[in-house]
């Protein structure tokens, strides 16, 4: 009943992580210091949070191409607010509000106008990042109050704050939401069969809107951490996150058609991508290889899963 719905991707992910681990260890034995691991974690947290939100959208059968743009818009809004004298906690709330609002726009447009999510969010991706550029005139925002630095640079003990105080609690919370709450059930039922869900009396529109709101809010949260870590809010930040977040969710075992997937799978996939990225840069491999490698991993993971599935089926069919 509560089995994690990894649908065969978990073993594949573990194998890939292992291969990456071995590769990285051989190429750069020095990588296994706690400092390096934390640095890697810090990089992974931001895209990881975005991917968690994306998981919910994709599990209902939707897709959100605008999360990277929300990530940018939210951070420049908070940046401008702080520069304008708004206390930083309030500015962060404002930024999160912007994220939620963006998600609401995506959700309402998808549900009310009955336009496919991929079209709606393609449009809002341009709109949101355009808006971020307009309100900043395309210039980075910096000069934040000192307190704001805690989100992206703070530590608890020696562990970066955003790993233990933000990402991990969030992951646990969302895992509970996914497996133990009514909302989590509705997300998967809607994603499995939208028509059946509606005829069963599920208000699928509300479920879909809620997932976009979650994705928007989480993208804004990631934006806050990013701006805090870099002490700069950039209107052009997160341009690649739109698609990488989708790649992570799919790599993590979610079906792109909805109804299948888990945030834990997404977290595992985030780890794999972070290992690859960090391992490559640690080995002084040019960053241009990174995106190619992510694509390769995605394909290999899906292929491996398909092969395993067909082996299973053949075994079930034989004798």
């Amino acid at each position: 009943m509560n089995r994690i719905d990894w649908t065969g991707r978990a073993p594949v992910l573990l194998v890939i992580s292992l291969i990456t681990l071995i590769g990285v260890s051989i190429g750069a034995p020095g990588i296994w210091s706690t400092d390096n691991l934390f640095a890697m974690g810090v990089l992974a947290v931001e895209i990881g949070i975005i991917a968690l939100g994306q998981t919910f959208v994709i599990n209902t059968g939707g897709i959100d191409l605008s999360v990277g743009a929300i990530f940018a818009l939210a951070q420049v809004v908070m940046g401008l607010a702080m520069v304008g004298g708004v206390p930083w906690p309030l500015a962060v709330m404002l930024g999160l509000g912007v994220g939620v609002l963006c998600g609401l726009v995506n959700g309402l447009a998808t549900v009310w106008l009955r336009v496919p999510a991929i079209i709606v969010t393609l449009a809002t991706m341009f709109a949101f990042s355009g808006l971020a550029l307009v309100i900043t005139s395309g210039i980075d925002v910096s000069g934040f109050p000192e307190g704001f630095a805690v989100l992206g640079q703070g530590t608890i003990g020696s562990v970066p704050l955003q790993i233990v105080a933000i990402y991990l609690p969030l992951l646990v919370l969302l895992a509970v939401v996914q497996w133990r709450t009514r909302f989590g059930r509705l997300v998967h039922l809607t994603g499995t069969n939208t028509l059946a869900a509606r005829l069963t009396g599920i208000r699928i529109g509300r479920v879909q809107i809620a997932t976009f709101v979650i994705a928007g809010g989480l993208a804004a949260l990631a934006g806050a951490i990013n701006a805090s870590r870099l002490t700069t809010a950039r209107p052009d930040a997160g341009a690649t996150d739109n698609l990488i977040s989708i790649a992570i969710v799919v790599l993590g075992g979610s079906s792109i058609f909805g109804g299948k997937g888990s945030v834990v799978g997404t977290a595992l996939a985030t780890l794999v991508i972070a290992l690859v990225n960090y391992g490559l840069s640690f080995n002084n491999l040019n960053a241009i290889y990174q995106s190619g490698l992510i694509g390769l991993i995605l394909i290999v993971a899906v292929l491996m899963q398909n092969i395993m599935l067909s082996i299973q089926q053949r075994r079930a069919a034989a004798t």
Binding site: M1, R182, F183, R185, T192, A196, R203
Partner: protein, 516 residues
């Protein structure tokens, strides 16, 4: 004379024996009916003949030479083809493209030779009395009945000598069925060997020359059709358990209390039904009979808030209601079990538990939205016991169950809600006799509890067997209402096809080619 013979053919899936040493022989010019409940081994048999699975043991002989059928392609070469219950077609492509899929005719330059394809298809279309203009139409613009005919044409194009029909009539209207039977008759005359699989007893005597009954993967016997009665076939199939026709009449107290629970006045749904008025009395089963395309389902979906009616008034328990979403309707006490189990009903990959609790989740969640998982598990197990849903456990994915068990699951989802009125759309379509019987009993229990039940069905036997009163719809209008049974099949059917009607609208049925 072509012959196709299985000798001692068996198939095991893991530890499960799907087919056990079957001997069976199909001959050209004969219609051989295969009869059996779901899980009796009929589909495994077809899969073996069409090369989808290879048998574990035994011998297949075609024209008295041993062959192996290890791929669908090989089956095609041997002249074996199957037409399935729900036609597998490429909906966005034309009929011509569908017909010649994979074996397109090409001209000298390698380009597709449409003229040659048209020429090749024309005589076959004529045999099936299809207009040649159909070739350029998209598959999706044809009704399912016509799609089936296209698949038969395709089989003929490929020189099929053994044609298997897998429950072809379960989604056809009466007219479409009659035409299909004529065509099958002609194919038989022309020397094709035909295997005909069905649940419907009455069809077997109409069409088959011989019948083989399968139960649990074993052959119970093969009989010339003249020598076996419907009762005999039923008892062979069910292993001798009760007949499908017993039913308890509504108890007298309930009979007296029949006040209208759901009342529809002048309901119209643009393009589907017009000016419909009927009512479902409490404690009573009302059969809503009409041929496919008569607007029955659309009327129900409009009541249920899934689509917008263009006019009309709906009253539930004396109150005028206007649900804008199925969730509203359920809250008001009105339920609807959809017609298409796979696409509108079940969540295929999901567990029985997730399926059965899908419309009762609010009852299992607390203020934090957290679910009472233990309670849900208990609830699911109770439903499974009460409605005799056979599954290894509550975690079993509903897609792994037989059609009958899926349908019982779907039914239980509705039967357990505190509803005032429930409309069941084709509640037993395509399921085996045993499960059908059970569901009919469950429906009776609902009515006995005081619920107003409507049963939409294109299965006349079902409507007659289960209903206290019958409303007949024809072409989007109410044709007749039959109160206080029993009613004869002839009068109800006559009303549905309009043969008893003076203005003779029945002629319109010839144009049902356009899908609704």
């Amino acid at each position: 004379m072509a012959s196709f013979e299985l000798r001692g053919v068996g198939k095991r899936f893991g530890g499960v024996r799907a087919l056990d040493d079957i001997d069976i022989r199909f001959e050209s010019g004969r219609v051989h009916a295969l009869l059996g409940e779901n899980g009796a081994g009929k589909s495994t048999l077809i899969k073996i003949l069409t090369g989808a699975v290879t048998p574990t043991n035994g011998e297949i002989r075609v024209d008295d030479t041993t062959v192996t059928i290890d791929s669908p392609r090989r089956a095609q070469e041997l002249g074996i083809a199957a037409v399935y219950q729900e036609p597998t077609v490429y909906p966005h492509m034309t009929v011509r493209e569908n017909l010649f899929m994979g074996q397109e005719l090409r001209g000298r330059s390698g380009m597709l030779d449409r003229r040659a394809m048209t020429a090749a298809a024309k005589p076959l279309l004529a045999r099936l009395r299809l207009d040649p203009s159909i070739l350029s139409r998209r598959m999706s613009s044809l009704s399912i009945g016509y799609q089936q005919l296209v698949l038969i044409t395709q089989a003929l194009l490929r020189d099929t000598r053994l044609l298997i029909f897998d429950e072809p009539t379960s989604i056809l209207s009466r007219e479409e069925t009659a035409r299909l039977f004529e065509i099958i008759g002609e194919l038989r005359e022309a020397g094709t060997a035909i295997v005909y699989i069905t649940h419907r007893m009455e069809e077997i005597h109409q069409i088959a020359d011989e019948v083989t009954v399968l139960t649990n993967g074993e052959r119970r016997g093969t009989y010339p059709i003249a020598e076996v009665s419907t009762e005999r076939m039923l008892s062979l199939m069910t292993g001798g358990h009760g007949s499908a026709r017993d039913r308890e009449p509504a108890s007298e107290t309930v009979q007296r209390e029949r006040r209208p629970m759901l009342e529809v006045t002048n309901l119209s749904v643009a393009g589907h039904c017009e000016d419909i008025s009927w009512q479902l009395p409490a404690g009573c089963i009302t059969g809503l009979y009409g041929l496919v395309g008569s607007g029955r389902s659309e009327a129900a979906l409009a009541l249920y808030g899934h689509i917008r009616p263009s006019a009309g008034r709906i009253q539930l328990d004396g109150q005028t209601i206007r649900p804008r979403h199925p969730a509203d309707a359920i809250k008001l006490g009105l339920g609807y079990l959809p017609e298409d189990r796979q696409f509108q009903g079940v969540f295929l990959d999901k567990s029985l538990e997730q399926n059965l609790t899908s419309n009762t989740l609010p009852g299992f969640s607390n203020v934090f939205d957290l679910l009472d998982l233990a309670g849900m598990r208990r609830f699911t197990t109770e439903l499974m016991n009460h409605y005799n849903i056979k599954a290894p456990g509550a975690d079993t994915s509903i897609g792994d169950l037989s059609g009958g068990n899926q349908q019982k699951g779907l039914f239980s989802r509705w039967a357990n809600l505190p509803l005032k009125a429930l409309i069941l759309d084709e509640p037993t379509r395509g399921i085996d006799v045993g499960a059908k019987d059970e569901i009919h009993r469950f429906i009776r229990h609902l009515a006995d509890r005081g619920m107003a039940v409507g049963v939409i069905s294109s299965d006349l036997d079902e409507v007659l067997a289960v209903s206290d009163r019958i409303i007949v719809m024809r072409e989007g209008r109410i044709a007749d209402t039959f109160e206080h049974g029993p009613h004869s099949a002839e009068t109800v059917l006559a009303s549905a096809i309009g043969s008893a009607d003076d203005d003779n609208r029945a002629a319109h049925h010839d144009t049902t080619e356009e899908s609704a």
